[in-house]
C-alpha cells in the first residue's frame, strides 16, 4: 500500500484552477519531492493533503485514510510544516513544544518534548521566549515540532526556506535521518539542488500540473541534463 495516493486532484480558488488534475503516489519511508517555481501549486497540494483546504475534485488517501472523510484520523498521523510558519511568541521554545505534545498521547509527551529539543538543538535558548529567536532558530524549533511526534507522514513545505547554508544543511540531514527511521516525507521545494540530494523520487509541477515524475538520476539521464534545474527547464519549454 502506498503511503500517499493522489488521484486526479483538482483545486479551484473561485474560477482559478490552482491544481489541475494531479496524480502521484508516495511509498512508505520514501522522501518524495514536489518541485516547481513559486505559484506552481505545490503549497496548495500540501495544504489539501494536510486537511487545511477542501478538494474540488479527485481523491487523496494517506495511509489508507481518505483526506475528506477521515480528516480527524489523518491529523493524528501527519505533521505539516508550512513554509512561513511561526510559533506563539509569548511562549518559550520548550513551552511551545509542550503545547504541541499535549495534543498527542500523554504517555509519550515527555519523550516527544525531549526529541523536539534535541532536533531543535537550541541549547539553553530553548527556555527563552520565541520572539527572541532568529529566523534560523525559529525554523529549527518548527522542524523539531514537526518531527518530534514521530509522524507517519511528514509534509514539509520548503523546509529550508530562508535559512543560511549551515542551518539548511542541518535540516536536510534531519529530514534524511527521519526517513531512515520509517517516516514518509513529502516535501516541496524550488531548490533543485536540495531535492536532488534529499529525494528518492520527484514530481515536477508547472501551472498546477505534474509535467514529469521519476527518480532524479533517471530524469537527468532522460533529458541529458547534468542536474534537475536543467531537467526542469527542458521540461517546461
Amino acid at each position: 500500500m502506498a503511503a500517499v495516493d493522489v488521484k486526479n486532484l483538482v483545486k479551484h480558488y473561485g474560477s482559478i484552477r490552482a491544481v489541475n488534475d494531479i496524480s502521484f503516489n508516495v511509498n512508505e519511508g520514501e522522501i518524495f519531492g514536489l518541485i516547481g517555481p513559486n505559484g506552481a501549486g505545490k503549497t496548495t497540494v500540501l495544504r489539501v493533503m494536510s486537511t487545511l483546504l477542501k478538494i474540488s475534485s479527485g481523491s487523496i488517501k494517506i495511509m489508507g485514510y481518505d483526506v475528506e472523510k477521515d480528516a480527524d484520523k489523518i491529523r493524528k498521523i501527519i505533521s505539516y510544516l508550512p513554509e512561513d510558519a511561526g510559533a506563539y511568541k509569548n511562549l518559550t521554545g520548550r513551552a511551545y513544544l509542550q503545547f504541541i505534545a499535549n495534543f498527542f498521547d500523554a504517555k509519550q509527551s515527555r519523550e516527544m518534548i525531549e526529541k523536539g529539543i534535541e532536533i531543535s538543538d537550541l541549547g539553553e535558548r530553548i527556555d527563552d521566549r520565541v520572539d527572541t529567536y532568529s529566523k534560523g532558530m525559529m525554523r529549527r524549533l518548527l522542524v523539531g515540532r514537526a518531527l518530534m511526534i514521530n509522524p507517519k507522514l511528514a509534509i514539509l513545505d520548503e523546509p529550508t526556506s530562508g535559512l543560511d547554508v549551515i542551518n539548511a544543511q542541518e535540516i536536510r540531514k534531519l529530514v534524511k535521518d527521519t526517513a531512515k527511521k520509517g517516516t514518509t516525507v513529502l516535501l516541496s521545494s524550488h531548490n533543485m539542488l536540495e531535492v536532488e540530494y534529499l529525494c528518492e523520487r520527484i514530481a515536477l509541477i508547472s501551472d498546477g500540473r505534474i509535467v514529469e515524475e521519476g527518480k532524479p538520476r533517471v530524469l537527468m539521464d532522460k533529458y541529458k541534463a547534468s542536474n534537475i534545474e536543467e531537467v526542469f527547464t527542458k521540461v517546461v519549454r
Binding site: 480558488y13 505559484g39 501549486g41 487545511l52 480527524d72 491529523r75 493524528k76 504541541i100
Partner: protein
C-alpha cells in the same frame, strides 16, 4: 504624477476597504434609526398630554384649575364626582392617557382658609425609560402653571396680607402612579424612573465591559493566529474545530470576567458615591429583586449572552487578517453593546417604536440589560424568551464559526483573483519565472 500624489493615491487605496467603511456605515444607520425615534419623541413632547379631570369642587379656584387643565391638555374624561375615579382611570388606560387629575370637594375652601389645596394626580405610567416620562413632564409643568395662576388670583383677590409662602405655593399634589399593574403611592413617574435606573444600571455596564474586553481578546486572538502564522499548524493538529472555537471563547470569557471584576471594583466605589447622596428605599416599594430564582435567571441570561457575544466576536475574528484589522472589527461589537445600554436607559422596551424594539431584541446584549427591570415587575416572559433567543443565536453563531473553520475561508479569505496570489505563492505574476 508627483511623489506626493503617488503616496496619497496609494494610502487612499489601502484605506478604501470594506473593513474601514462597514463599521461606520452600520453605526450611521443605527444613529439614523435612533434619530428618527428621538424626533418622534420630540413631537410627542409638543403634543398636548391626554388627561382626565374630575372636578368635585364647584368653587372658583377649582374652576380655574380645571379650566387651565382642559385648555392646555386634551381631556378625554370629565366628571364631577369622585366615585367615577375607576371609570376615569379605565378610560385613560384605553385612550393612552397620562394621568387622571382629581380636584376634590373643598379645594376652594382649603385655599380660602389659607391651607394648600390638594390636587390628586393618578399617573398612568407606560414605560420606565427617561423618555417615557416626557408626557408626564409636560403635565407636571401644567400643574405648576395651575399653581402659578391660582397664586395670581389669590394676590388679585385681596389676599396680599396672607402668608407669602402659601400664596406662592397654594396647591399640593398627592401623587399615585400606576405602572405595570402596580400602585405606587406618593411616587411620581420621574421618581420611579430614577429609582429603577439606579437599580438596573449596574448590569448594562458590567455586560458592556465584559463584551468589549473579552470580545476584543477573541478577535485579536484570531488575528494574531493569522499574523504570527500559527493558525495553519493549529488546524493540522489532532484537535476538533469545535474544541478550538470553544477553547478560545472560554479563555476569553475567563480573562474578560477577571478584567471586568477589576473594573467593577472601581465602579462600585463610584456608585457608592451616588448612593450616599440619598434616595428612596427601593425595598419599601418592592422595587428590588427578591427571589433566588430572579438572580439565577439574570445569571443565566448574562452567561448565555456572554457566550453568544463571544461567538459573534469569533465570527468577526475569522475576518481579521492582522492585529490592525482586528482593532477595526472590535468597533461594531462595542457599538452593539452600547446601543442597548443607552436605549434601555432612555426608553422602556415596551414603549419603543416597533423598529427599535426589533433592533433591541435582535441584539443579544440587550437581554441581560433588560432582565432586572423585567423581573422586578414579574415580566418573566420577556426574560425567558430573551434567554431562549440568545441561546439559539449562540448555537447558530458557534455552528457558523465551526463551519468556517472547516472551510477554506479561514486561510484563503476571499476567493477573488488578487487574493489567490497570496494563497498559492505568486500564482499569476511569476508562474513562468524560475
Amino acid at each position: 504624477m508627483g511623489a506626493l500624489g503617488n503616496i496619497i493615491r496609494k494610502e487612499i487605496k489601502e484605506l478604501m476597504t470594506p473593513a474601514t467603511f462597514l463599521p461606520i456605515i452600520i453605526v450611521a444607520l443605527i444613529f439614523g434609526t435612533m434619530g428618527n425615534s428621538i424626533q418622534g419623541i420630540q413631537e410627542q413632547a409638543k403634543e398636548k398630554p391626554v388627561i382626565g379631570v374630575i372636578n368635585a369642587d364647584n368653587g372658583t379656584y377649582a374652576e380655574i384649575a380645571s379650566s387651565i387643565l382642559r385648555t392646555n391638555a386634551r381631556s378625554v374624561y370629565n366628571s364631577t364626582t369622585i366615585d367615577d375615579k375607576q371609570t376615569g382611570l379605565d378610560t385613560l388606560k384605553q385612550k393612552d392617557g397620562v394621568a387622571l387629575i382629581i380636584i376634590p370637594s373643598g379645594f376652594t375652601g382649603q385655599l380660602l382658609n389659607e391651607t394648600p389645596g390638594q390636587i390628586e394626580v393618578y399617573w398612568i405610567m407606560k414605560g420606565a425609560g427617561i423618555m417615557d416620562t416626557i408626557s408626564s413632564g409636560v403635565l407636571q409643568y401644567l400643574i405648576t402653571y395651575v399653581n402659578t395662576n391660582i397664586s395670581k388670583e389669590l394676590i388679585k383677590g385681596n389676599h396680599t396680607s396672607v402668608n407669602a409662602s402659601f400664596v406662592l405655593m397654594p396647591t399640593a399634589k398627592v401623587e399615585t402612579t400606576y405602572f405595570k399593574d402596580r400602585e405606587f403611592k406618593n411616587l411620581s413617574p420621574d421618581a420611579i424612573v430614577g429609582m429603577l435606573s439606579s437599580q438596573s444600571l449596574l448590569i448594562p455596564i458590567v455586560m458592556m465591559m465584559i463584551i468589549i474586553m473579552a470580545g476584543g481578546i477573541v478577535i485579536t486572538s484570531m488575528a494574531l493566529e493569522k499574523e504570527n502564522k500559527t493558525l495553519e499548524t493549529l488546524l493540522t493538529l489532532p484537535v476538533k474545530r469545535t474544541s478550538i472555537v470553544t477553547g478560545k471563547i472560554v479563555a476569553a470569557a475567563v480573562i474578560g470576567l477577571l478584567l471586568s471584576i477589576i473594573y467593577m471594583v472601581g465602579m462600585s466605589y463610584y456608585f457608592q458615591g451616588f448612593q450616599m447622596s440619598g434616595g428612596a428605599d427601593l425595598s419599601e416599594y418592592n422595587l428590588i429583586l427578591s427571589s433566588v430564582q430572579d438572580y439565577l435567571l439574570i445569571g443565566l441570561s448574562l452567561f448565555i449572552t456572554l457566550i453568544a457575544g463571544l461567538a459573534l466576536c469569533m465570527l468577526f475574528g475569522t475576518f481579521a487578517k492582522n492585529y490592525k484589522s482586528a482593532q477595526t472589527l472590535t468597533f461594531p461589537i462595542t457599538m452593539l453593546a452600547l446601543i442597548p445600554m443607552f436605549l434601555t436607559m432612555f426608553a422602556d422596551f415596551g414603549t419603543l417604536p416597533l423598529a427599535l424594539k426589533a433592533l433591541v431584541f435582535a441584539i443579544p446584549f440587550s437581554h441581560p440589560m433588560m432582565a432586572p427591570r423585567a423581573l422586578i415587575f414579574g415580566d418573566y416572559a420577556v426574560v425567558i424568551s430573551g434567554i431562549i433567543y440568545v441561546s439559539i443565536f449562540a448555537v447558530i453563531t458557534i455552528a457558523v464559526v465551526v463551519w468556517i473553520f472547516k472551510t477554506d475561508r479561514l486561510l484563503t479569505g476571499s476567493t477573488r483573483m488578487k487574493k489567490i496570489s497570496k494563497v498559492g505563492g505568486q500564482f499569476f505574476r511569476r508562474k513562468r519565472q524560475y
